[in-house]
């Protein structure tokens, strides 16, 4: 009797926690989209902002955001795959310092990345306030997440494949390319989704690197305002910008969902290729 009572208490507590989580997410989404609805239409995602963002839309800002994200992923994914494979397959004496530095990197506050990006990419490399600087700064930030995901993905591949490939006289490289990495894809994609989320939500690291010019970007050397910065600016600096801030936040949430869907589809394609 006490047993079943205790079981029910556990079940109730666990269900309540799960429900609470759903309510939390629901509240955020409902609040954002309800306040966004009056401004959210096709023109909002198509037009450039006007009157400091109170009117117009976020067209150029979406483009800038996607460009920054594209630069960040293009710069971060190849070295992350390489480093993840290195940690999982080779390791050796270099593995410890590499792992340690990744952990430190993962714990650095984003504002520090912003200042570093400003000093290094904008000034030392002379890229100025630009989509390129912002993207490269974000690349540094998401690198630890992607490396960790790749390492875990490659480690999770059953060792029978590795032994089987070696017994057939296949090189390590072709094993990784045809078997190891495609099999690691589900975890790599999970890492990418986390990385994309972190990158798209980033404000502090971008203020000092990609800047906040809200015109249509013409090249990667132009400064471009990211959606998260636009939300921040409208909410904090523009009186009467609340509705636009909510609408921009809603677009940001939709953008994260959209990019994640694309990433997941890409991962599935690589796996079944």
């Amino acid at each position: 009797m006490t047993g079943t009572l205790r079981d029910r208490a556990y079940q109730a507590a666990a269900s309540a926690s799960a429900l609470f989580l759903l309510l939390g997410l629901g509240a955020v989404l409902i609040d954002t989209f309800a306040a966004a609805l009056p401004r959210l239409d096709l023109d909002f995602v198509r037009l450039p902002p006007s009157d400091a963002g109170r009117a117009g839309g976020v067209g150029p800002i979406i483009v800038s955001t996607l460009c920054i994200l594209g630069v960040a992923l293009a710069a971060a994914v190849p070295p992350a795959l390489g480093a993840g494979v290195f940690l999982a397959e080779l390791g050796g004496r270099l593995a410890r310092p590499v792992r340690l530095s990744l952990e430190v990197l993962a714990g650095v506050p984003s504002i520090v990345f912003g200042l570093f990006g400003n000093a290094f990419f904008c000034k030392v490399l002379g890229l100025g306030f630009s989509i390129l600087s912002g993207g490269l700064t974000l690349a540094c930030m998401v690198l630890p997440i992607l490396v960790k995901a790749t390492e875990e993905g490659v480690r999770a591949v059953p060792s029978e494949y590795r032994l089987g490939a070696a017994a057939l006289g296949l090189s390590r490289g072709s094993y990784l390319w045809r078997i190891g990495l495609p099999q690691a894809m589900p975890l790599v994609v999970t890492g990418l989704v986390l990385g994309v989320g972190r990158a798209l939500a980033e404000t502090a690291a971008l203020i000092f690197t990609s800047g906040y010019v809200d015109r249509w970007p013409e090249s990667l050397h132009d400064s471009g305002r990211a959606l998260s910065i636009h939300v921040y600016d409208l909410a904090m600096n523009v009186p009467g910008g609340d509705a636009s801030a909510h609408a921009s936040a809603a677009v940001l949430v939709l953008a994260i969902l959209g990019v994640n869907a694309v990433v997941a589809a890409l991962g599935r394609w690589v796996r079944t290729r």
Partner: protein
């Protein structure tokens, strides 16, 4: 032709087996039998140097396969492993299509007539009629016995001279096991075969020679080696006599 002289394998400071001398004539089937932990699989992994992939493992002594010094650190592993195929206990087809499981290693080794080789390898293990209409389906969709035969086909496609099998039937049901065993037996004459098995009846059915391994003080050793009918009919050592009669092990 395989010649093993005074071979020992250590895993860090633990000795898996030591003092093994064994020769295997070309085109014959030799079964390695004995209780678990007596070094049979470790011995097998020396013949294709897969022992290199175990961290802390070290092989000493001498192994010659077709006149080639296998433990020489300068050995061309890619070429050697192409000559010495291996089948594992658990079927391990790659997560690719049935065709690619055979074609991918062939292409890696620079073979041209991949299509023909895929077909003849699948015919050699009796899979062609079973799968020729679904060559592009995932190999992992095959049954356990079919997967193991695909692994044998994959190894044979590279035209090895030696085939190593590490308990190839132990993860299969009796019927699939019988089919795989028949294909292993059919390798006699064309390939030099070394098979590890826990199934004494299987060793007796298919092997020309049988090597009985045993454990002494945690270290494996070769207790007796000879023609299969001699080892089973009139064993020279007490250990082999007790093991093959089923009273020990």
């Amino acid at each position: 032709m395989i010649a093993v002289a005074d071979l020992a394998v250590h895993y860090r400071d633990k000795c898996a087996f030591a003092g093994v001398n064994l020769s295997v004539a070309r085109g014959t089937i030799t079964a390695l039998v004995g209780p678990s932990g007596c070094g049979k699989s470790s011995l097998l992994s020396c013949l294709n140097r897969l022992v290199d992939m175990v961290p802390g493992a070290r092989a000493s002594g001498r192994v010659d396969v077709d006149g080639c010094d296998v433990l020489d650190p300068r050995l061309d592993l890619v070429a050697h492993r192409r000559r010495v195929g291996m089948i594992f206990q658990k079927p391990n087809p790659f997560p690719l299509s049935i065709r690619e499981n055979i074609a991918f290693p062939l292409r890696e080794h620079g073979v041209r007539d991949v299509g023909e080789r895929v077909e003849s390898a699948l015919r050699a293990v009796g899979l062609w009629t079973e799968v020729n209409d679904r060559l592009d389906r995932p190999a992992l969709g095959l049954s356990g016995g079919q997967q193991q035969r695909l692994c044998i086909a994959r190894a044979l496609a590279l035209e090895p001279s030696v085939v190593l099998l590490d308990e190839p039937c132990s993860a299969l049901d009796p019927i699939a096991s019988g089919v795989v065993e028949d294909h292993v037996a059919s390798l006699r004459g064309r390939y030099t075969v070394v098979i590890v098995t826990h199934n004494l009846a299987q060793a007796r059915r298919i092997a020309d020679h049988t090597a009985v391994f045993w454990v002494r003080g945690g270290t494996g050793y070769l207790a007796e080696h000879g023609a299969t009918e001699q080892v089973f009919g009139s064993p020279r050592t007490d250990v082999a006599a007790a093991y093959v009669s089923g009273s020990r092990g």
